[in-house]
């Protein structure tokens, strides 16, 4: 743990007696009071997350949008100022290097938010891929803290700390504002399946902002453990589990983010075009266990006669559903009764449509 990098909120986590784990090189809170309480708080009220480990990479200049069109699978130049898009960066073979959210902050300024574990790869690729374009790529990850307030009460609670017109801020949109006295980028994005906000602030403003929000009744600090079950219920992929360099956007059911028809060439276009023409050999599905045992990452999915036909990528007991849920890659052509091999025992599962949970 001593070798792990610390986020600007490290002392707050220690003060809250969080269980800290190394995650992508950072000492991050796994849980505070308990993951189920934290999970439920996000579903019913509001949870507060430190996401300062995520990477913030800026592209600016006249060809910033064109450079991102070339570097990523989405049509980023078509994004309106103040809007955000979920997208991916692929390798030339069509494998996923990372999934990203790109925000257009101004006509010639974009912010790419990368997963912490991939931030260095994404930065290196963006520098390389943007080389021929009139744009400057800057890693500003260390300057920013990222605090997420997620849950049905998020807007009402945040409104107590800002004059920014939150009600006008749409899902997947971003604006400037002052929150609890700190200059912030306020984005209506998240990774929990709930309404909520992600607040990008200067690292030095993180602690007072956290304390202000955490001081509100109904706001519960929430760790990575709750974040993982929240995103799993919402059917959202996690890089390293559902997405890797060995998976394609089509297998992950995310072919819609690949804009093959956008003008110009982009990295992975040829391979992704070919992949788009044939059904993938395996697809990401949702599983609900009939019993109490949770399928876990790496467990085999098997047919009724025990033949392996897939692999679990994420699984956990679902606090909201009360049953174990999982996502798994299932080989094409399998239907009928399926089970997951849970430590040598076949536990029956049902294939269900994702997401497992949708907010009302």
């Amino acid at each position: 743990m001593s070798a792990s990098k610390k986020t600007p909120l490290h002392d707050v986590h220690v003060e809250l007696d969080a269980t800290l784990v190394d995650f992508a090189g950072y000492a991050m809170p796994l849980r505070y009071a308990g993951e189920t309480v934290e999970h439920r708080a996000v579903r019913t009220s509001a949870g507060l997350f430190d996401l300062s480990h995520m990477g913030e990479i800026f592209l600016s200049g006249p060809q910033a949008g064109a450079a991102l069109d070339h570097a990523l699978v989405g049509e980023i130049s078509a994004l309106a100022v103040g809007r955000a898009r979920y997208t991916m960066i692929c390798n030339p073979a069509g494998g996923v290097l990372d999934d990203l959210i790109v925000y257009r902050l101004a006509d010639e300024t974009f912010m790419v938010v990368a997963n912490a574990a991939n931030a260095a790869t994404v930065l290196a690729e963006l520098l390389d891929r943007a080389a021929g374009f009139d744009t400057v790529v800057t890693d500003r990850s260390a300057e920013y803290a990222l605090i997420a307030l997620q849950g049905p009460r998020a807007q009402e609670i945040l409104a107590g700390f800002t004059d920014a017109p939150l009600a006008d801020l749409r899902y997947y949109a971003i604006m400037d504002g002052v929150v609890a006295g700190a200059d912030a980028l306020l984005a209506r994005t998240g990774y929990t399946g709930e309404d909520g906000f992600e607040l990008f602030v200067s690292a030095g403003d993180a602690v007072p902002l956290w304390r202000a929000l955490a001081g509100v009744e109904g706001v519960t600090p929430a760790g990575l453990s709750a974040r993982d079950t929240l995103r799993l219920e919402a059917g959202m992929p996690l890089y390293g589990n559902e997405l890797t360099t060995e998976t394609t956007p089509y297998e992950a059911g995310l072919g819609r983010v690949v804009k093959l028809g956008k003008p110009g060439d982009f990295v992975g276009k040829e391979a992704l075009t070919a992949l788009s023409r044939t059904p993938p050999g395996r697809t990401l599905v949702g599983l609900v266990a009939r019993g109490r045992r949770a399928p876990r990452q790496g467990y085999a999915v098997v047919t009724s006669d025990g033949t392996p036909c897939g692999a679990v990528t994420s699984g956990a007991p679902s606090p909201t559903l009360g049953t174990p849920i999982a996502m798994a890659y299932l080989d094409a052509g399998h239907s009928g009764e399926l089970a997951v091999d849970v430590r040598g025992r076949q536990e029956p599962v049902d294939v269900v449509a994702l997401p497992f949970y949708k907010r009302s």
Binding site: T19, E35, S225, T229, R292, A294, R296, P317
Partner: protein, 131 residues
């Protein structure tokens, strides 16, 4: 993390209460607060031995599943199971809430010599090293 003085401990993070003479003692077994905290919230507990069946010291005798992981449960002593805590099976979170009390897991009538168990001080050292 609390490590009660009067208990004995295994390296697999089980505790044993009531061990005095060895053979013939009926001891109570559970997992330590350190183990419960490391696992996270426990959602499922299964023993693969029932009352009247024999467990062997250091051998797996069940599974503990938490929100984050699955682990084997080991018996810290050899002998016959005389009781299994129904509360821990039905509401396994009781193990997190009260690992040394209401969250006990099973009782064993000890046969033969108990294995190598640690006192509170040695167990504290063990967990400090792994922390």
């Amino acid at each position: 993390m609390s490590v009660p003085e009067q208990l004995q401990y295994s390296e697999e993070h089980e505790w044993v209460a009531g061990l005095a003479d060895g053979a013939g003692d009926v001891v109570t077994v559970g997992i330590t607060a350190h183990a419960a905290d490391a696992l996270g919230e426990i959602v499922y507990l299964e023993l693969n031995k029932g009352e009247g069946e024999r467990v062997e010291a250091g051998e797996p005798c069940g599974e503990i599943e938490s929100t984050k992981s699955v682990s084997d449960l080991f018996s810290p002593v050899s002998g016959e199971i005389t009781a299994i805590n129904p509360a821990a099976i039905e509401q396994p979170k009781v193990i997190n809430d009260d690992p040394y009390g209401e969250g006990w897991i099973f009782k064993v009538r000890v046969e033969g010599e108990p294995g190598d168990l640690l006192d509170a001080e040695a167990y504290t050292r063990l967990t400090d090293e792994s922390a």
